[in-house]
Assembly symmetry: C2
Amino acid sequence: MTAPSAESPDRRIAFQGEPGAFSEEAALRFLGPAIVTVPRPTFDSTFRALAEGAADALLVPIENSLAGSVLRVYELLLEGDLWIAAETILPIEHHLIGCPGATLEQIRSIESHPMALAQCERFISAHPGWKRIPVEDTAGSVRDVVARDDRSRSAVAGRRAAEIYRGAILASDIQDNAENFTRFVLLTPAHDTAPGADKTTLAVRLAHRPGALLAALEPFARRGMNLLKIESRPIHGCPWEYQFFLDVEVPSLGRLEDALRELRGGSQDVRQLGVYAAARPGPLSTI
Amino acid sequence: MTAPSAESPDRRIAFQGEPGAFSEEAALRFLGPAIVTVPRPTFDSTFRALAEGAADALLVPIENSLAGSVLRVYELLLEGDLWIAAETILPIEHHLIGCPGATLEQIRSIESHPMALAQCERFISAHPGWKRIPVEDTAGSVRDVVARDDRSRSAVAGRRAAEIYRGAILASDIQDNAENFTRFVLLTPAHDTAPGADKTTLAVRLAHRPGALLAALEPFARRGMNLLKIESRPIHGCPWEYQFFLDVEVPSLGRLEDALRELRGGSQDVRQLGVYAAARPGPLSTI
């Protein structure tokens, strides 16, 4: 257990992935270049970084506009006691990255995580002679290509990976769909409500009977509080119960407290996972 | 455009993946060994198989218990005019597959799609000397390992892949989480209601105002119709509108028609994507 340094008591931010990952890019853009980013291989080990004294907060993806919610992050939120203190939305822009000095004409192979390759199908099919190589990490593919100094190899990753591994961007924004956004949340041990907070995330567990969800939504609708996102999940081992995750607009903290009081009176189990300022502007903030 | 053969007019089932994929396994278990399975590389080309005369129906995954909803399938359902005629749930069981005659002791590498490797972390960490090789397809990894006849190589995939490529299962059920299920839907051009249908899937588009969802759920709750799944999605290009996908229990077709009539009177846009018999038993049928 390392003691936090005196200069940066709240500035060590753990993220899932290798240095240069989109999560690290989101953390630096959102929190500024003074933070120390702490890479972790999995979501589970990212969440453990706080208890291990290796980080002061986490920045993790919770939703992508193409791939949907990141279920493991929701599960880990429920298993632990962290708090959503803020959110930020990062456009996911894939770039073709090669060795310094390489040109597009020299490239003979393209490597990245299969999800990133799949999101760049149109660009890749325009280069039918290239060998397609799946690897386990987007940022790691850039590190490997630059380390080998082979001008025929290229990787697909974000701008930050090109910067830290000193790769050259040979083609930018090569993804098929321009509307590729990921919403990240900042998770902290303290359950503080930030100034300007206007959004809350709730986990509500309901019995499986007609109208149960309806009754849980009424306290918000009656107070003019917009629902921003809803998703149901089965509860393993409890076949007739289910878990809802709700994002709700918070016009005022007083109204939220009233609604929660009413909700807790009626349903089995309500947990507030955070109260924070909604990211604006961004397509995911307007679901 | 090929005319369907006289013997099997409704039996050519397109699926996404290589021969031996979990989708093909689900199709054969659900529809029996007499069907002809038609592999397609992407979801988009799977959906095109009907218009191209290459298949009579599709079987595609719509939800996985660990990874969540398959958003592209929902999008393609909205873009086209296919109908959910049935659903089936397949437990996703990963096996370690090697060449015939190979033993676990001889293995030095393990290859598969990164998602499959990630779902077998515990098993893989118990073999720290093995090289981990990401590839683009689970079934394809078995095909390659067996074709090379190298007893030090192994792949991770389902039972069907071992069968068709004649690989040997060296270790079975190696996934970390036993509760890994995928729900598949059978999609047909005809909008028929199967006998015993007791579930419907709806796409409802609502304006972004407090209580809009509540008003859309009321017609079901008042008629004692359970909600089985709900998910909201942003509508690209329409910042203040959103799309809900609902699975609702259907106690009787008459009650469903009444509820839909009421719903259509109030909300902007309701589309029925299918009426079918819920898969039972299975954890995903009881959300």
